[in-house]
């Protein structure tokens, strides 16, 4: 097992190297001049040249790349053109918000998706199966940003059940502790016995999490169902039946354990995709996370920020996939080393 993990981590290095390279050249080669972006249209040539020298933009591209690479390995993504702050710092500030949202969405999607998928497979072609699979199909066919808007329209504007955006009631003077507001709210509850921060954080989280989780939910439900159906047709299920094992146990122990193997992979991929899907959802729900930040960075052609954002999101994505692969080999005894 240890050797496998080590091998996989070593294998990651060229991939991450490729990611950094691609991110650098894509933006370095793209039209537009960062110096002009920073100084505005009316800046003098002298000022522009000065800034270019300062940013190292006057050097050959390959030299810039080498420089960038050497900084990236020290987790230095440069300074945001727009805010003037270190990109690493900005990302560190915003990351908890995105992770909290993505985790909430994923927990919601995985749990509901697996339950729906199992129930649908157990009663194949029943009303529940048809209805939930139709819903799942509609779920995967929706633009996520549109769903978010429609949900705001219905649940915030129409029914006034949830706030339209933000992470916490703005009237509360709240200083984040960990940056994960649910956790922070819980800490405050423990410390001061005041549940209002926890409740407010939860209240703000529900709508974006459900909106962001809908597509993964639909996908997980579909994969769970088809995986369950495939497993239920396997010989070892026939063996269990012919041994008199009760149906309930066959479904939820004998079959589900096997059926979950592909589902775990899908959950991992979806979790990674959620991080980028957040670009859309966070923008709509005014959720102060990486996605919204990256969106504005792209809009403003804030190259260091965009490069940094892409590299961080892709790295997290790759790490999650690695984690899922390892988890897969842990729950699949055919790969696990005894």
């Amino acid at each position: 097992m240890g050797r496998l993990i080590l091998r996989r981590i070593v294998q990651l290095i060229p991939t991450l190297f490729g990611v950094v390279t691609l991110a650098f050249f894509m933006l370095a080669l793209s039209p537009g001049d960062p110096a002009r972006v920073m100084l505005g249209e009316r800046a003098s040539q002298a000022r522009l040249d000065e800034l270019r020298t300062q940013l190292g933009l006057d050097r050959p591209l390959i030299e810039q790349y080498g420089l960038y690479l050497s900084r990236v390995v020290q987790f230095d993504f440069g300074t945001s053109i727009k805010s003037g702050r270190a990109v690493t710092e900005e990302i560190a500030d915003l990351f908890p918000a995105t992770v909290e949202l993505a985790l909430a969405a994923m927990v919601f999607a995985s749990f509901t998706g697996i339950v729906l998928g199992v129930l649908a497979a157990r009663k194949k072609n029943s009303l529940l199966d048809t209805a939930s699979m139709a819903a799942a199909l509609i779920g995967v066919s929706m633009p996520v940003f549109w769903l978010a808007l429609v949900m705001i329209m219905i649940f915030s504007v129409g029914l006034n059940l949830f706030p339209t955006g933000g992470r916490m009631n703005i009237r509360y003077y709240f200083t984040p502790i960990t940056g994960f507001y649910l956790l922070d709210g819980f800490i405050v509850l423990l410390r001061e016995g005041d549940p209002k921060y926890l409740m407010s954080a939860l209240h703000h989280l529900v709508l974006p999490a459900v909106a962001l989780g809908t597509i993964p939910l639909a996908i997980i439900a579909r994969v769970t169902r088809s995986s369950m159906l495939e497993v239920l047709g396997q010989d070892y299920i026939k063996t269990a039946k012919s041994s008199g094992i009760p149906d309930f146990k066959i479904t939820f122990v004998y079959a589900l354990r096997n059926a979950l193997l592909p589902v775990v992979t899908v959950i991992g991929i979806q979790f990674g995709l959620l991080l980028s899907g957040a670009i859309l959802t966070e923008t709509i729900f005014a959720w102060p996370g990486i996605g919204k930040w990256l969106y504005h960075a792209i809009e403003a052609r804030d190259y260091p920020a965009v490069q940094g954002g892409i590299i961080v999101i892709s790295t997290v994505f790759v790490l999650i996939n690695l984690l899922v692969d390892l988890l897969y080999s842990v729950i699949n005894p055919r790969i696990r080393l005894q």
């Binding site: 047709g233 396997q234 010989d235 070892y236 026939k238 063996t239 269990a240 039946k241 012919s242 041994s243 008199g244 094992i245 009760p246 146990k249 004998y254 354990r257 096997n258 729950i331 699949n332 005894p333 055919r334 005894q338």
Partner: protein, 330 residues
Amino acid sequence: MDEPLLSIQDLKVDFSTNRGLVRAIRGVSFAIRKGETLALVGESGCGKSVTAHSITRLIPTPPGRITGGKILFEGVDLLQIPEPKLRDLRGSRISMIFQEPMTSLNPVFPIGSQIMDVLLTHTKMKKVDARAKALSLLELVKIPAPERRFKSYPHQLSGGMRQRVMIALALASPNPGLMIADEPTTALDVTIQAQILALLEDLKEKIGMALLLITHDMGVVAEVADRVAVMYAGRVVEEGEVFRIFENPSHPYTRGLLESLPSNPLYKETKRLKAIPGSVPDMITLGEGCPFANRCPLVRPECTLAFPEPTTLDTDHKVWCYAIEEEPVL
């Protein structure tokens, strides 16, 4: 004659397919006595596995459907009892082993716990006792170092070992009555097949259970069966004691089947086999007559109209064939 352990009477099973309704089993009857080994033999698609799976109602429904007949096990019609009662019988009085030992065991659980699960389902054993019993079962099926193997996963075992585990699983009951073995050695190498057949023989004697052996291999039949039922295209065409079947095969199909074997001493010199011409009929378009009529050397006009009633040649040797009266009865 004493009451048979299992008696199948006029069983009929249909399958609906894209191309139309397949009448896979068209009125099959046979019986197994306590402690006896009955081989249900026939070529692929003849319905022998479907028959076996019908006994414990493991036919996937849909597309399959049991449309008629009775399956009496110790006098109780298995087709009539409710599902929970049947489930109590499965694995305790009637157990099954399958062709593919590679896929018949759950890949994500250790084999010991799979055996324990069956024990705990059918008895009120404590876990410790179930573990001890499972270990003794592994020992019974001659798995070397059962203590160590107990925690093994199926993929860590060879095909032969897995089939032994399957047999142990089938014996995980306080009172096994009938074991249905569906092509238990087909996927195995011949040296391993010999081991498994010897083990089955041995266990039958020790435990006194009956064995319904589904196979296409006449060699396996000759090795282990007490009685034989020969199936062809959804019908039993001949049934009898194993010596009768091999020494006096009376249905033209049984005869053809035995003569097709390359190991038949008939061919030591000629270097040509006496093959049955033609191929198995399409089960969708097949009519009411004898399904073998289109390949039969003794075919008569009435053969294509209706399936014959059985002719009893002597005790326990029945043949479903019109041409049989002409044959001298031994």
